[in-house]
Structure formats: C-alpha cells, structure tokens
C-alpha cells in the first residue's frame, strides 16, 4: 500500500505540473488582437478525411484560399469521423476561439447541430446537410452548390467523347454505355449521376449507363474494383462520385476515358482524364465569413452556382473530342440565363412515362416521406429556393441501370 501511495503522489504531482504548464502556454495562445473593423473572425474546419481524399482536399483548398485572401486565422481538423468525435472537434475549435465552424461530411450534421445548440454565439455551417431549414437554429446553416449543373457540363464532354468513338468506328452507337462508380444510393449521388447522364444524352442520344455502389465515401480498393467491373461489363467511359483515386487509376490502367470529380486527376491519369467538375468552396466561405465579420446574418440554405463561381470545371485535357469547349460554353450560358434546365422533364422518362409531379423528401423525417412537389415549370427543381440546398433528386430514370 505504501508503494501505491508513492506512485499516486508522483502521478498526481506530475499531472498537476503538466496542467500548470499547459495552462500557461494556452493563455498566450488565445490572446487575440482587437480588430478595428467589425468582428475578428477565426475559422475552424472539420474534415472527414485528409488531403488524400479528393473530396476533403477540395474543401481544404477552398478554406485556405478564402481565409488567406481575407487574412483570417484558421484551424483545420482532419480525419474526424461521423460520430461524437465530431462534436468534440467542434467544441475544441470553439475553445480555440473559432466563431465560424464548418464541417464537410453528411454524417457530421447531427453533431454540428448539438454543438450549435451548445454555443449559440458561434456560427456553424455544414456541407451537404439537410436539416438547417427545419431545425430552427439561427446559428446553423447548410450549404451546397448546383453541382448537378457542373456534372451536366462534364456529361456533355463525355457524350462528345462517345460520339468521337462512334465516328472512329471504335464502338457502335448501341455500344455507347458509360459506367458510374457511386458511393451510396442516396439523393446526392443519384442527382449527380443523373445530371451527368443527361448531359451526355443531350449530345449522344443512344447513351446508356450502369451504376455501381461502393458503400463508402473513401475505399480505394472498392472504387477500383467497381470501375473494373463496369469496364468488363462493356462500359467505354467511366465517371465516379466517391473520393479516392481508385476509379481514375483503374481507368488509366485499362485505357478507358474518365470524367473525374472534385478536381483534376490529369497528373495521375495523363492518357484517360477528360475533365472534372468540382465545387469551389471559397466563394461560400468568403460569403459566410464576411457576414460574420460585418455582424450580419447569412443564408440558412446556401446554393452556390455557376454565377457565384462555386460550380466549376477544370481545364479540358488533350483527350477530349473536338468542339467540346464550344459546346460547354453554349450550355453554360444557357444554364446561367435559365433557358436550359438540367432536369427538364421533356428529356427523361421514369418507367416509360414523363414525370409531371413528384413529392420529394425535402424535410427529413424518420419515414422518408415525400413532402414537397418539386416539379416546377416543366423541370425538377433541384437545390432550389424554398426547398433546401442539399440534393433531393432521387428518381431512377430510364437509360440508367443500377447494378446490385
């Protein structure tokens, strides 16, 4: 027992000594300089994975460029799972002085809401989330972008590539089948691949598409296998909505053209990369942080568009078909001035018939019941005003086959 006491005493005094020096150091860290104009913003970012994930890298780049342009101090926490760790991470960011906290993954949302309830004076924002418009918290925001428009433009690139292959005699018009590696079968992914398909179909009417799911946002092996499976099934062009380099690498190895997502994969796939659509998050971060700085409120649901600079395409690679750049510019202008709608109900059918009414599950509820008719003026109004920012297009249209 005596020995026990000794150990206890040593451990306790050690812990106290550690505590003391920790406090001392921390105090000096949190000293902030008062700013002359408006509130001093300090931003905290919570990422599901790290820079190895194309999805998270895209957020990290956006965060860095927005903060550095505005001269804002920031902290990035990577590899934060979609669990209680996310709430702890948010709390630690607030402790570190952040008054703007942003999380990048769908499953982070519940924990960010808990943190928002805990710290009403801090503004929380969350990408791809669905609950801000029903939660009724003034300091919790959802943000997304009309990336379906970007994917539509990328789809045009794919369709023109297919046309080139048909003209060269590599495939017949009936063999124009694309493959798509998706993460999960929910609206964000369905909306993405459908817009990509419709973009391709707008220039290559005979196109069909197979979709396979990996059940993970980041699983390099599964994404690679998924792409290989599609290629073996006769898909002559691949795109993906999952975050590793699995699918692009598989395409490069097989010599199959690839339309990427989240950013250019040209350096890793010089022979097969066509183009990539991505969301540039810097405009949203700038918008939100400027509002906080000026003491203003900002949108509960924010949708970045082509016009805000949120939806972009990377530079076209040398592998694309002739005339692609012009076709994209034309479509882009039409999308921007409202004469073209990606989900125009005249361009697709479900179960053989056109869609005239669809109750989408906009307000999340446990039963996933449809609650809003989202067919407006002859098109499916995705991520539209009055609904919410995160996608809710989950129709399975004709021409696309889900494997499994």
């Amino acid at each position: 027992m005596k020995k026990m006491k000794k150990i206890a005493a040593v451990a306790l005094s050690a812990a106290m000594a550690l505590g003391l020096c920790a406090c001392g150091d921390n105090a000096s860290n949190t000293t902030q300089t008062a700013s002359n104009d408006g509130v001093t913003v300090k931003a905290g970012f919570i990422c599901l994975h790290d820079e190895n994930s194309t999805y998270d890298l895209n957020f990290i780049n956006g965060a860095k460029s927005a903060c550095e342009a505005m001269g804002i101090e920031y902290i990035i926490k990577t590899n934060i799972p979609e669990g209680a760790e996310c709430q702890t991470a948010a709390e630690e960011l607030v402790d570190a002085g952040c008054n703007f906290v942003f999380a990048d993954s769908f499953g982070h949302e519940d924990y960010i809401i808990e943190a928002a309830k805990e710290f009403p004076e801090v503004q929380f924002a969350h990408a791809t989330g669905t609950k801000a418009h029903t939660e009724g918290l003034s300091n919790f925001h959802n943000a997304f972008a009309s990336i379906y428009e970007g994917r539509y433009l990328a789809g045009i690139t794919a369709g023109l590539k297919l046309n080139e292959m048909i003209e060269n005699g590599q495939i017949t018009a009936d063999q124009a089948k694309m493959g798509y590696v998706g993460a999960y079968p929910y609206a964000e992914v369905v909306s993405g691949y459908t817009s990509f398909y419709l973009g391709a179909k707008s220039v290559c009417p005979t196109v069909t598409m197979d979709v396979t799911y990996t059940s993970s946002w980041y699983d390099e092996t599964a994404e690679k296998e998924g792409a290989n499976k599609l290629i073996n099934n006769g898909c002559v062009l691949i795109s993906q909505h999952a975050d590793s380099m699995g699918a692009p690498t598989a395409c490069e190895n097989a010599g199959v053209p690839n339309v990427s997502y989240n950013g250019s994969t040209l350096s890793a796939c010089p022979n097969t990369f066509l183009v990539s659509s991505r969301i540039d998050w810097a405009p949203y971060f700038t918008y939100a942080m400027t509002a906080i700085k000026n003491g203003e409120t900002f949108a509960t649901d924010y949708v970045g568009t082509i016009a805000t600079g949120s939806v972009c395409l990377t530079d076209l690679s040398g592998n694309v078909a002739e005339g692609t750049a012009d076709a994209i510019e034309t479509a882009k202008a039409a999308l921007a001035n409202g004469t073209l709608h990606v989900f125009d109900t005249a361009t697709f059918t479900v179960g053989g018939s056109a869609v005239t009414e669809y109750m989408a599950d906009v307000d999340s509820d446990p039963a996933y019941e449809g609650d809003h008719n989202v067919i407006v003026d002859g098109h499916f109004a995705e991520s539209a005003d009055g609904f919410r920012s995160a996608p809710y297009f989950d129709l399975r249209i004709d021409g696309i086959t889900e494997l499994q």
Binding site: I7, N26, N79, I113
Partner: protein, 385 residues
C-alpha cells in the same frame, strides 16, 4: 571460451518502484524518438512536441474532462477483461460485448423513446445493455466450459459478428443515407443520461471508480475472486479442492459481460447517443494492454489507462498543431505503445553480458530459483507477457 556472450535470464520479482522507473524511462525514450522524428520531418523544436502532447490532453478545461472521461471508459474496458485474465481465460471479446450492449441500449432508445416515461426508458435501456453484454460473454464461456473451445478465437470472432449485427440494424433502421444511425432522439433527448452537476462526464467517471472498487474487492477479498485465481493457477488444483471450474468460468465471464453492458450503456446513452460498428472504438483490444501493464491490479489500472489516454489524446493534437497529416499522430502513438510494451521485457528479464560459461550457468540456476520461489501472484503477468 573467451568469446563475449549475451545471455537473457528471467529476473527476480522486480521492486514496483524500479519497474515503474523502467516504464517511465521507456516513455521518455519514446518521447525523445518522437521528438527526433518531428525534428527531422518538420524542423520544428522537439520540445514543442512534448508541450503539445501535454496541451492535447490537459490544455483546456474541456480537454481535461475529455481525458478523464476517456480514461474512465478505457479503465472500465480493462476492468471488464481483468477477472477473466486472472482466470487465464483470454477474453479479447470486450469489443463485441460492448457493441452488443450498445446496440441493446440503442434499440430500446430508438423504439421506446418518447413512448414511455423517461426514467423507465433509461432503466429498460440499462437492463437491455446488461442482458446483451452478458449474453455475448456467456456464449464463449459456456462453449469453453462444456467443450473446451479456444476462447481467444471464439471471443475474437464474436466481435466481428457483433459489428455485423450492428451494421444490419443500422441498414434496416436508416435505409437512406450513408449507413449512419445519426443521433437518436435528437429533438426529444429521450433516453439521454442527464448531466450530473451540469457536467456530462461526471457520471461516467463515477461509474468507472465504482466498478474499479467492485473489481478490486471481488478479486482480492471475494470468494469468487479466490476461486477464479485458483482456476487460473491450475485447473487440476481447483477441481481437487472442489471448485466447480465450469461454473467459475461462466460466472466470471458473466461479470465481464455485465461490466461491458454498463460501458455500452454509458457510451450510447451518455456520450454518443448513436450506435455504429465503431462504438467500442477498438478499446476492447487496448484494454488488454491496460490490464497487463497493471498486472491485473484494478487500482494500478487507473494509471495505466490514463497513461495511454494522455499519450494518444496528446499525440492527436501534435498532428493538427504542427500542420501534419493525422497519420503522424498514429506514428507517435505507435512509438509510445511500442516502447511501453517493449519495456516489459526488461522488467521481466535481464540481459547478462559475460565472458565465461560458468557465470551463465549460475545465472540460469538463479533465475530458476527465483521463478520457483517468487511470489506467484506478482509474477503472473510477467510470465505471460
């Protein structure tokens, strides 16, 4: 025979203070190596790594509470496996037992939340958790007792089965989305454990201390503790003195399962308010380390669990504050654990450098003597680790 020879011999039981001096030395060496690595990779002051580890664990009030809570949770895992280890029953299934209890808690919370009185709901959740945990511990215990199956394999496999059952439940309960349960009853907070004294961590810390006291008393003074110790020493002896070995195995595992049940309940109802295949977070395996480093002594386990938590929580901050990839924290934690486990070798064995053969033979006899005369209980961990 003038050749210089290295020879390894088992030590006499080392004084506790000396053993801890070696362990602390190992931590210092691990930190030095970690600092050196940081210096080489980043060119930053090695001292900043040490300071960051301390800050990562104790830097703010919240971090101190988080460290205490994480320590409590890990400690309870260690306490859950310790009685079985004392019995030489290699239970590495705490992971699965906690997962099943967490699932029991979550299922009750999910289906009955808001439909019945909240107090009753919490009691039902606790009962469900303990029943599930005990069931998941009972299976390997009973097949070991009846058919002498290898419990290392059966407990390990049951972990994976538990994880799959949890995944199945989530896929069924939340058909849309990315296979995440989300926070259960987020709007009503039904079935959430209340924050004692306005602090959501205190209940867990108190429970950990209560369980520590229980396990300590049970092993040291209880009849059950005596019986499981005898079974651990020699099954034949136990049978000879009339101990029902099968029953002792089952009873001890039921206690492990019940403790795991409480952990699963606290994790789901008190901390996470959700369930996922990662709810146990691999702590069921870290618990083996906690228990062995403490030589299965519940009181010492308080310190071993805290040591591991401080090191890993601290290392987590090193990566973010130095702007390194989070994998770097894993490297640092790995170095620390390697040194901690490795140093047990030097506590249990000594290395003799000798030039003559007769010296070696005397060492061997020495060590044999010490093995036979050394305190059985204190030597236990050493023999196994």
């Amino acid at each position: 025979m003038n050749k210089f020879r290295i020879h390894i011999a088992k030590r006499d039981t080392m004084p506790v203070a000396a053993a801890w001096a070696i362990r602390i030395g190992a931590i210092v060496l691990a930190l030095l190596l970690g600092s050196l690595l940081t210096l080489v990779l980043t060119g930053k002051n090695p001292l900043s790594v040490l300071l960051t580890i301390v800050q990562g664990a104790f830097g703010t009030e919240r971090k101190i509470w988080t460290t205490l809570r994480d320590t409590s949770v890990l400690l309870m895992f260690g306490l859950a496996v310790a009685p079985a280890f004392k019995m030489r029953f290699w239970n590495i299934g705490a992971e699965g037992q906690v997962l099943m209890s967490g699932l029991g808690t979550a299922v009750v919370m999910f289906f009955l939340g808001g439909k019945i009185n909240d107090g009753l709901l919490i009691i039902l959740m606790l009962v469900a958790a303990i029943v599930c945990g005990m069931l998941w511990a009972f299976i390997p215990a009973v097949i070991k007792a009846k058919w002498n199956t290898n419990e290392t394999l059966s407990t390990l496999m049951l972990n994976y089965i538990a994880a799959q059952i949890v995944s199945m439940f989530i896929a069924w309960a939340v058909p849309s989305g990315s296979m995440k349960m989300g926070i259960i009853n987020q709007d009503t907070n039904a079935g959430w454990l209340p924050a004692l004294f306005g602090n959501k961590h205190i209940l867990i810390i108190i429970m950990a201390l209560l369980i520590t006291a229980f396990v300590f008393v049970y092993i040291k003074y209880g009849k059950g503790g005596y019986e499981l110790t005898v079974v651990g020493e020699s099954v034949k002896t136990a049978r000879y003195v009339g101990i029902k070995v099968e029953w002792v195995i089952i009873r001890t595992m039921l206690i492990s399962g019940a403790i795991c049940g409480i952990i699963g309940f606290l994790q789901v109802a008190g901390v996470e308010h959700t369930i996922s295949p990662n709810t146990a977070g691999g702590l069921g395996f870290t618990a083996v380390l906690v228990a062995w480093m403490a030589k299965l002594n519940p009181i010492v386990m308080i310190f071993t669990s805290m040591l591991i938590v401080v090191m890993s929580n601290g290392a987590g901050d090193v990566a973010s504050s130095l702007g390194l990839n989070a994998s770097f924290s894993d490297i640092l934690t790995g170095i620390i654990l390697f040194f901690l486990i490795g140093c047990e070798f030097f506590i249990n064995y000594k290395i003799c450098f000798s030039a003559k053969n007769d010296k070696i033979s005397s060492d061997v006899t020495d060590s044999k003597e010490s093995e036979s005369s050394g305190g059985v209980e204190e030597n236990e961990g050493g023999k196994q680790s």
